[in-house]
Structure formats: structure tokens, C-alpha cells
Amino acid sequence: MRKITAIIKPFKLEEVKEALTSVGIQGITVTEVKGFGRQKGHTELYRGAEYTVDFLPKVKIEVVLKEDLVEKAMDKIMQAASTGKIGDGKIFVSSIEEVVRIRTGERGEEAI
């Protein structure tokens, strides 16, 4: 079992969600986050004072899925979240040791 963590531009969330459900993913977790990468921040103006805002709003998506779906899901996320401009985000993949469905007590891939 693997977990895909993707940091994307907030306005791409809907497209990414649709792309993932189209390959059979049944659940995702979404968090609003802030951060910076190569895109860096932006400046804001208040009464003539310029503030540099380093952390930009992004959306973090977490999906746990079976091994065989990982490549396909990564492709789908890349296609859906890409604008070609700096700041499109990143995808991280990690291993998951155990999953439990709280209601039934099922474990492993059955519980995903």
C-alpha cells in the first residue's frame, strides 16, 4: 500500500479530484496549507507599505491506494494539476504499513 501526497494549486482541486475518481480512487483527504518552493511569495500593499508574503496558499491532497494504482494516479494528478507555470506543486509517494477501517475493523487493502 502506498500514500500519494500531492501539493497543488488550490484552483486545480476540482479537476484533480475528478481525475482521481475516474481511475477508481474512493476517498481522498484535502487540507488547505501554506508554503513556498521555487515560486516564492508575492507582495502586498497597505497604505504604501510593501509586505512580502513568503507563504502561498496551496492544497494538500492525501490518497492511500493499492500498489498497482500508484503510477496511473500519479499520471492523472500530473495531467490535471499542470498549468506549465512555476508553482504547480509536487507529488510525494510513501509506503503505508497498515490501514484499519474503524467501523468494521477490516485491515490492509480491504480497508482502503
Binding site: 500593499l45 497597505y46 497604505r47 504604501g48 507599505a49 510593501e50 509586505y51 512580502t52 508574503v53
Partner: protein, 429 residues
Amino acid sequence: MTKFMVYLFIFSMGLLFNIDAAFAGEAEPKIVGADTAWMLASSALVMLMVPGLALFYGGMDRSKNVLSTLLLSFVCLGVITVQWTLFGYSLAFGSDVGKVIGDLSFLALAGVGLEPNGTIPHQLFMVFQMMFAILTPALISGALVGRMKFQTFVVFILLWSTLVYDPLCHWVWGGGWISDLGALDFAGGLVVHISSGVSALAACIILGKRKGFPAEPMPPHNLPITLLGAGMLWFGWFGFNAGSELAADAVAASAFVVTQIAAGAAVLGWVFTEWSHRGKPTLLGAASGGVAGLVAITPAAGFVGPISAIMIGALAGGLCYLAVLAKHKFGYDDSLDVFAVHGIGGTIGAICTGLFATAAIGGTDGLFFGNPGQLVTQLISVAAAWVYSFTVTFVILKVLEATMGLRVSEEDEVQGLDLSSHGERGYTM
């Protein structure tokens, strides 16, 4: 023969007018219903400026201090209402003592009844003036947000209102030496805006900077409520300026019209100055410009015409924006720019009154209408208001610093005053 008839006619008309005037002079003062209705409404309009100011300021501060900032304005409705009732009104409008202060004849509103004062009940005049006395210390609070002890602030506004506002109000409106001088201040350029703005400068210098200023960004946390507050201020300002005529008459209408025109021109003045300086027009700039224009037209309303109002407003919008930049240059933490908007805006307005006033509207000419002496009078009154406000505020705060302490602890400041001083939060999510 015909010539004789004309002379006779003119002579008799003159006699008639003289007799009329003599009767008017001797007539008992009478309450006029229209004036009373307008002043009741105006008093309520000025009251609404206090919560308007609270929202204007509250949105500009950080979210951890929003309630504390709102409260600094709102608490003036409590403290100054009682102060004014018990002795403030008497100090400002009691019988003159040496041209500097009112006596104690109106203590606890003794003798302030429903008899006519001009054409309105005396108590109505008192409560209209009360709203001004409440708003003025609330204006100062914008320079002190995010770090001042609440209990010290309460004592400060009580002392400030008694020692700065009441005497200054007496000098200008209560029959004191500035009114004798002939200085024009229709609705409070000196009494309200220079006094609060210059005092705010003195206060923020003594109080010191917020922790992290200016290195750490402290952007406004909720500009929509700032715009709501600016809108309430603008709305209430019609009562402030047009109400200062104390009657529902032509001068009140003129004051109303130039108030609107100057505020509109100042929105443009500020926005275009900021746009050309920083490359973008901003909402905060538009709201701030409107307020700066309202400040600047305050002393001039009732004395100037519409085109003069455009010039006063545009000038105030541009110059107040530049005055805000000064704090970054000199390093004082006038947190919400009270000095730049009210101190400088009020000064521009008081000086412009000496330039643009025209006898056709308010009975007195300024420099541009052939009376250079008025400008000199205005400059003297401005200098007096600056020096008096700055000095007395400085002394009050030095005494409070030594006795009560001015600032909350550093830990409380970092946590935010909403939680540390008041035990509540503006936003629970």
C-alpha cells in the same frame, strides 16, 4: 416728485428693516422645530461614527487584537458620556474663566435644561457636543493598538478629555481666546482632528513600538470591515459637519454638500497618489482617502464652496498618503496612521479654511478672496492646538507611565490582547 417718492420708499424700507432688526435682537429665544429635529438626527449620526471608527480600525489591526481595538473606541461611549455629563460639558461650555476654560456652573448638568440655546433645547446642544467629545479620544486609540494596558487607556482618555479636549473645545467654541481671535473651525479641525492626531503622535512615541515593528509584517486582517467602518464614518460625518450649523438652514446644506464633494475628491487624491507611487490602486487607500477628505473639510465646511472642496479634498488625499510614509522613515509606530490622517488632514483643513473661505457662504473671506489676515489667524490657532495637544498628552502619559504602567507584558502582547486582556476571541474556528 418721483425722485422724492423713491427716496421716501428707500428711507421707509430702511427704517422697517432697522425696526425688524431691533425686534429680532430683543425677541425671546425660541425653540424651532425644524432645527431641533435636525439636531436630534445629527447627534445620532455622530454617535454612529464611534462604532464606525471601531470597525475602521478593527479591520486594519491583526486578528489577535481585533476585539481589543474595537473596545478602545467603544469604551469611549461609556467613559466620556459620564465624564461629559458630570463635568466635561461644564469645563467646555460653562461661563468663561479667563478665556481658557469654562466654570463649574453646569456641573452634573445643573441648569442645563430644555430652555432654548439658540433655537434648540440646551440639553440637545449638550448631547450633540457630547458625541464629539466621545469620538475624539476614540480617534487617538488607533495609534495605541496591540500593546497598551486597557486600564491605563481608560484613565488616559478620562484625563485627556478633561485636560486637552475640554479646554481646547472651550477656546474654539465655548467663548475662549481662539474664538476671540476669529479663527474659523466649523466642525472641529482644531478641536477634534488636530487635537487627536497630534496627541496620537505624542502617545505612540511614548508608548513605543509594537513588538516586531517594523521588521515583522502586520497587515490588516479584515479590510471588508474596515470599508464598512469607513462607510459608517462617512454617513455619520453629515451629522458631524452639517449638524455643526446647529440649525436646519442653508449653511447646513452647504456644509453637507462640500462634505460629500471633499470626501469624493480625496478618494481620488489618495488612490491616484498611491497608484502612481506603488503601481496599484487599493481599497484601503480608497477608504483612507475618503476619511482624510472628511477630516480636511471638517473645519472648512460652512465656509467654502464646492470647487474649493474639490481642491481641499484632493490635496488632503494626496498629502495624507505621503504623511503615512513618514512613519516608516522616522520609525514611530503610529499603528493605524492617526497622525497622518487626522493630524495632517486636520491641519490641511484648518489652513485651507484660511485660504478658501468666502464671505458669500460663511460670512468670512480667506486669502483667495482678499483677506490674508484670516490665514494668519488660522496658522496661529493651528500652532496653538498642536503645541497644547502634544505637550499635555506627553505629560499625562509620562505620569501614567510612572504610576500605572503603559504597556502589557511582552508575553501578553505576543499572545494578542483579545485573549490576554479580555479573555475572548474575535474569531472562533
